[in-house]
């Protein structure tokens, strides 16, 4: 049992043994370390002004990840190197991304700039080639209100193309060594039984801790829990972080299925899912931002039960099974059955999600569409996922699920039934299925969309999916995310 958290900062190991479990990394940086280069723009992981880069050892490799420090718990940096904007310039020389930002006039008011620099630094460190989609994806979680982004994108291209030697390359080995020395398999428990930050190292330890403290808050990426702290001012006296649990982030694959461990980051899930179907890749590309995907996890997104989370409808359409554990007891259920009502899931006190298994769409026809006010880094007004098993032009089985249409991610069973046995050429059957959606959903009006818009778009997405499957083409029906475009790994 380790009673501190440890991380690497400016080449030195920092050990913290007393901190409120809800302490965010940003508050620690600005208020304790008094490094004010990292800014708070929104306090909810949306604007990216607080972006810092964590470097972690993954399979012996040093992997940089941009994260939103405002909603990341301090304890979550255990075992990482924390890099902020102050750390990039060395020996009086700006880092290539900083230099390019200055030369391209990439800053105006400068307040978003530290976050943008760190996002570009992460891209640079990851060895990305200059590609517009990669650059705009890397910036999707960084709002700039002044420049209109053009000079920032130009700066990114320039820096990535220049690839000048920078001190980070030389220091990589050294940092990897220091992180390896920090790595241990100890359970971490900081605080008392009444108030603690715990990070168990094994599933067994996690199961015991959850039983002992069924009132504790389970934290995976904190991309939602972080807002409970910064906006709802939740106390969160007991926090169990899943990030150290060995094996909980496993990805397993067989011929028919893929199983994603609960703590698989959304960034890694994106890579896996993109390999299954381009629409899954596009969906994950538009899921939050790179910062959110670096922290957020598959299990967290599912267990959180958001009615508008983008992963659940896609997984339901794919026929996913959720795995849970409580103490020594394990159970599995169809994912759609996990969601009971608005923000109410079939998860008992002390129980936790271990993994989700999905059926690969191979041999079936999969389509997913996300509709939001803004393409990137927005929450769905309506998200529709469609998986059709078709033989000889006839639908054998249709699995359709929507987000944003009910209090939970939900299957469109009436529409599915209307399509079963229909031929793709049968326009009347398509319209019957669209009509049947009215029986499946009674959406609400809110600030994202009206009920009327949601209803009509839900039907139109079904039309779009069926049209594309029938024609095998999406050039005439899509503005973005065409299926022939491959998605690079992140």
């Amino acid at each position: 049992m380790r009673r501190t958290i440890r991380f690497l900062r400016k080449g030195e190991t920092v050990e913290v043994e007393q901190f409120a479990p809800r302490t965010t990394l940003l508050d620690w940086l600005r208020l304790s370390e008094r490094s004010t280069g990292t800014k708070e723009g929104c306090g909810e992981g949306d604007c990216g002004a607080c972006t810092v880069v964590l470097r972690r050892l993954v399979d012996g490799r040093l992997v940089p990840a941009p994260v939103n420090a405002c909603i990341l718990l301090l304890g979550q940096v255990d075992g990482s190197e924390v890099l902020t904007v102050e750390d990039l310039a060395a020996e009086g020389r700006l880092h290539p991304v900083q230099q390019a930002m200055v030369e391209h006039h990439g800053s105006q008011c400068g307040f978003c700039t530290p976050g943008i620099v760190m996002s570009l630094f992460a891209l640079y460190e990851a060895g990305m080639a200059p590609d517009r989609q990669e650059v705009t994806d890397a910036l999707a979680g960084n709002l700039c209100r002044c420049t209109g982004y053009r000079p920032i994108v130009d700066a990114a291209f320039d820096a990535l193309a220049r690839r000048e030697e920078d001190p980070f390359v030389a220091r990589r080995q050294q940092v990897a060594g220091k992180l390896a020395a920090l790595a241990d398999e100890a359970d971490v428990f900081v605080g008392s039984d009444q108030s603690f930050f715990a990070a168990p190292a094994s599933i067994e330890a996690l199961a015991q801790l959850c039983l002992a403290h069924p009132d504790a808050t389970l934290v995976a990426g904190a991309t939602d829990v972080g807002l409970w702290i910064t906006k709802a001012l939740a106390e969160l006296p007991k926090v169990i972080w899943l990030g150290r649990v060995a094996g909980l982030d496993a990805v397993a694959e067989d011929g028919e299925t893929v199983t994603l461990g609960a703590t698989v980051p959304l960034s890694r899930a994106r890579d896996v899912l993109a390999g299954l179907d381009p629409d899954l890749g596009e969906l994950m590309r538009r899921f939050g931002s790179r910062q959110v995907r670096a922290s957020g996890t598959v299990g967290g997104n599912v267990a959180n039960g958001s009615p508008i989370g983008d992963l659940a409808p896609a997984l339901i359409a794919l026929g996913a099974t959720l795995h849970l554990r409580r103490g020594a007891e394990r159970r599995s259920l169809p994912l759609e059955d996990f969601f009971l009502d608005y923000r109410k899931q079939d998860r008992r006190p002390g129980e936790f999600v271990t993994a989700v298994t999905l059926r690969k769409p191979a041999g079936r026809h999969f389509r997913a569409f996300k509709v939001s006010k803004r393409f990137d880094e927005d929450i769905s007004a309506v998200m529709g996922a469609f998986c059709l098993d078709i033989a000889d032009g006839t639908v054998r089985e249709a699995r359709i699920a929507y987000g944003g249409m009910a209090g939970i991610p939900k299957r469109a069973r009436a529409a599915e039934a209307a399509l079963a046995g229909a031929t793709l050429a049968d326009g009347a059957a398509m319209e019957r299925a669209v009509t049947a959606l009215a029986g499946d959903f009674s959406p609400l009006s809110d600030h994202r969309a009206s009920a009327g818009y949601r209803r009509r778009v839900a039907g139109n997405l079904l039309r779009k999916a069926l049209t594309e499957i029938a024609t095998g083409d999406d050039a005439a029906t899509r503005l973005i995310g065409h299926r022939e475009i491959r998605h690079a790994a992140e």
């Binding site: 280069g37 990292t38 800014k39 306090g43 909810e44 949306d46 604007c47 902020t84 904007v85 102050e86 310039a89 700006l94 930002m101 200055v102 391209h104 006039h105 800053s107 105006q108 008011c109 400068g110 978003c112 530290p114 620099v117 517009r132 650059v135 705009t136 910036l139 709002l143 209100r145 002044c146 420049t147 209109g148 982004y149 053009r150 000079p151 920032i152 994108v153 130009d154 910064t230 906006k231 001012l233 509709v371 006010k373 393409f375 990137d376 929450i379 007004a381 809110d446 600030h447 969309a449 009206s450 009327g452 778009v457 139109n460 997405l461 039309r463 005439a476 029906t477 503005l479 973005i480």
Partner: protein, 805 residues
């Protein structure tokens, strides 16, 4: 009047007009320092070395290094306390009681402040006396500050602030324009101006149309939220660090609320993390509350708003309903135009007089209106008080008339660009509805003609039409719209500025002026002007924080006026010192004034020269004063609001944009395919900074008209109070094919180096995006209509296509 120097085009960093986001290999030329680049000819034939150069932002290196300090980054003085606000949970009602016992008892709480703790006047309004620091009997909007908590940490203050119990007798609030119209409640009297007999013109016109356009508001979303740090001094003195565009107003209102003379208060700001008008009047309240807290506790106090609170408690761009009627001839020429702007001003007047006046001043945009009635209502609602936002009302006026142009074109079956051109101001058709003559009608005609050719408008129109004929789900739209924007504060007395320049004995120069830096590059531009005056490198000019202690009684940095006013004032200050140095040289070395030149950090006279620093040292020893103030007031302008006549604007800035979009008729989503912009910044003081203003302004305007939607619920609560729900553009929203160029012709008015103001005008270039989306909607409907309101969210687009949803 000077002749135009023709149209010399500058693009971003002098690059070719390429789709700038694609070419990764090209590196920009180095843009550091002034001495390395070749001199250019000035307005009067002199050689210029420092102005007209694409120098980087003076804080660029600090921005990228995290060392540029904003309010919350200033090292807190020992014992600093933190302030959080208690906000009204209802939009309208009588405050019967307020139980603060739990707040006072909360951990870390040092003081709690309410209206009763205001020693001076409980009023932070800029002029009208209608805006309290803290609500007293009456609650005016959901989120109105009612009290403040002062505590040892920000976290403790925020937690305590939520523990109050309000006793409010709730009344039904007015939320929408319609609510306010039904109640007839206004914050200021209705106001109308115009020319000619509109009713006669309308009834005689061969064609008539009428319509209603709803135009949404806009949240500023400056990345740095509102913040202030107040540090008490001796005998009631107070220093307020405030993220404000208007330090003088903060100073005056802090004094008013504290009940002390202005001279006891100093307000200072080095930079803001964005302003956009949102910190013109509305930074004041937070500075005042920090100052009240500092006075109450005797300790430094900081108030930094949480983002969600910031969005709830600060005003936005005015949303409006424009009701219009137009009569026109067979060529689409307007004969009569009647429009009423119903502006939602919120709970108080704030700047609504000037904002809505500017809507009216821009109801014509670039078009001659032979008969016009431009009317406005300033409606009072139980929502946060709407305020200045880049464009200051102008965008709404211009968007309405662009809608009218499109409707006329659709009715006549003509290309909208042809209708627009037919209506442009021209010789003989050059008087605005408010009596100012447009003296340079040739500039916009030339600019639009050039953009039309450069962007291949006609061929692309044919391609769009062909695409729409064959595409069922996806439809394209194209629009080319002009911008004519009046430059000057319409409140004439604000058109003044001061500067203070010191030259020290080592030759280094201290520059100060009343303008504030919010990212727009004002400081580097003014420094370029001063470097030019003294012939020294830009690094010799130390840019310093704006402070009311150095330059008093300043105007807000607003109305795009920063460089025009402060650049001129700084030049005058620098020229005063320079002239003293020249006279000293002439006396000492017996040379004529005409033989003295300042360049390359030296002063040349006769056959000799001296290092600038050496000259300065000699001048000091000869007891020559090396400090001077400069003062500038804009000439020629006047405005008689009662008569609705005058010359409110010194000049006009022009621009035009062409946008092409594709919409998805199944979802209402859209993609911006290409944008071409040609914008008139006069002879740009700094082309790189100006390109940045143009691109940034355009993208901000695009956000206003597309994804940025403010939603208030029936109880007056803002539902879109965070970036998770309020969507400003991100990098991928900016078209890959984005071609921005400067249309350079010297300002015909004697502005600073014949440049033109560039802060606000480019925002309205985004009208092209809205008109292009409407064009695509028209193509999708096929009945000639495009009932699209702003913002054109996907839902608004789909509704415009299919009718009710």
């Amino acid at each position: 009047m000077r002749q135009s120097e023709g149209t010399e085009n500058l693009t971003s960093r002098g690059a070719t007009p390429r789709p700038s986001m694609r070419d990764a290999s090209s590196r920009p030329p180095a843009t550091t320092g002034g001495a390395a680049v070749a001199p250019v000819a000035g307005d009067d034939g002199t050689t210029l070395r420092y102005v007209h150069r694409p120098l980087p932002h003076d804080s660029g290196v600090r921005h990228v290094s995290g060392t540029a300090l904003y309010i919350d980054d200033i090292r807190e003085p020992e014992g600093t306390l933190h302030v959080a606000l208690g906000l009204s949970p209802v939009a309208r009602g009588r405050l019967r009681g307020l139980d603060l016992a739990a707040v006072r008892a909360a951990p870390g709480v040092v003081a709690v402040l309410t209206a009763a703790d205001v020693p001076g006047r409980n009023d932070i309004s800029p002029a009208n006396g209608d805006e309290p620091v803290f609500a007293e009997q009456e609650v005016l909007f959901h989120g109105q500050p009612v009290f403040a908590v002062v505590a040892t940490t920000r976290d403790a203050a925020r937690r305590a602030a939520r523990l109050a119990t309000f006793d409010i007798e709730e009344e039904p609030p007015s939320i929408t324009v319609e609510d306010a119209l039904a109640r007839g409640e206004t914050v200021l009297p209705d106001y109308t101006f115009g020319r000619g007999d509109v009713e006669a013109a309308l009834s005689a016109a061969p064609h008539r149309l009428e319509g209603v356009l709803r135009i949404g508001g806009q949240e500023h979303f400056y990345l740095e939220g509102q913040a202030a740090l107040a540090v008490p001094g001796e005998e009631g003195d107070i220093l307020v660090h405030s993220s404000t565009q208007h330090p003088s107003e903060v100073q005056h209102i802090v004094a008013r609320v504290l009940g002390i003379p202005d001279a006891f208060v100093t307000c200072e700001v080095r930079r803001m993390g964005g302003g956009f008008g949102g910190k013109e009047t509305q930074a004041t309240q937070w500075a005042v509350i920090a100052a009240l807290a500092a006075r109450a506790t005797g300790r430094p106090c900081k108030l930094r708003l949480d983002r969600d609170d910031d969005m709830v408690v600060t005003g936005k761009r005015h949303d409006m309903r424009a009701d219009w009627r137009v009569g026109f001839d067979g060529d689409g020429r307007i004969l009569g135009y009647d429009i009423v702007f119903n502006a939602r001003c919120g709970c108080s007047a704030d700047l609504s007089q000037g904002v809505v006046d500017r809507t009216m001043f821009h109801a014509d945009n670039a078009y001659f209106l032979p008969a016009a009635r431009i009317a406005s209502r300033r409606l009072k609602t139980n929502t946060v008080s709407n305020t200045a936002f880049r464009g200051f009302g102008g965008p709404q006026g211009m968007l309405a008339v662009e809608r009218v142009m499109d409707e006329i074109a659709a009715r006549l079956g003509r290309d909208p660009l042809d209708v627009r051109k037919a209506n442009f101001y021209a010789p003989g058709r050059d008087e605005t509805p408010y009596g100012q003559t447009v003296e340079d009608t040739d500039v916009l005609a030339a600019l639009v003609a050039q953009l039309e050719a450069d962007c291949d408008y006609r061929a692309r129109r044919r391609a769009v039409t062909a695409f729409n004929a064959r595409s069922r789900v996806l439809k394209k739209g194209l629009a080319l719209t002009p911008v004519k924007f009046g430059i000057s504060f319409t409140l004439t007395h604000l058109n003044q500025a001061g500067a203070l320049v010191h030259v020290y004995q080592d030759g280094s120069i201290h520059l100060n002026h009343g303008g504030t830096e919010m990212g727009q590059g004002l400081f580097i531009k003014v420094a370029q002007v001063v470097a030019e005056e003294f012939g020294v490198g830009i690094e010799c000019v130390r840019i310093t924080a704006t402070t009311t202690a150095k330059v008093p009684n300043t105007s807000p940095t607003a109305a795009s006026s920063g460089s025009d006013l402060n650049g001129m004032a700084a030049r005058i200050a620098a020229a005063t010192i320079r002239q003293r140095l020249v006279e000293f040289l002439c006396e000492t070395y017996d040379v004529a004034e005409g033989e003295v030149t300042f360049r390359d950090d030296r002063v040349f006279f006769g056959n000799e020269s001296l290092a600038f620093a050496d000259l300065v040292k000699k001048a000091y020893q000869a007891r020559i004063p090396l400090s001077a103030t400069g003062f500038y007031r804009t000439p020629a302008i006047h405005w008689d609001r009662a008569a609705g006549r005058g010359r409110p604007f010194f000049y006009f800035a022009y621009g035009a944009a062409c946008a092409e979009v594709t919409i998805d008729t199944l979802t209402g989503e859209y993609r911006l395919d290409r944008v071409d912009i040609l914008h008139d910044a006069g002879r740009s003081l700094n082309p790189a900074i100006d390109i940045g203003q143009i691109e940034g302004g355009f993208v901000q305007g695009m956000g206003w008209l597309t994804t940025e939607e403010l939603v208030f619920d029936a109880k007056g609560r803002l539902a879109t109070h965070a970036p998770s729900t309020y969507k400003i553009p991100v990098a991928s929203d900016v078209p890959q094919d984005f071609r921005v160029r400067l249309f350079t012709s010297a300002n015909r008015q004697p502005t600073i180096y014949r440049s033109k103001a560039v802060g606000e005008p480019p925002l309205m270039l985004a009208n092209a995006v809205f008109c292009a989306i409407a064009d695509a909607v028209r193509a999708a409907r096929g009945d000639g209509l495009a009932p699209l309101d702003a913002p054109a969210t996907p839902e608004a687009v789909l509704r415009a296509i299919v009718g009710a949803l």
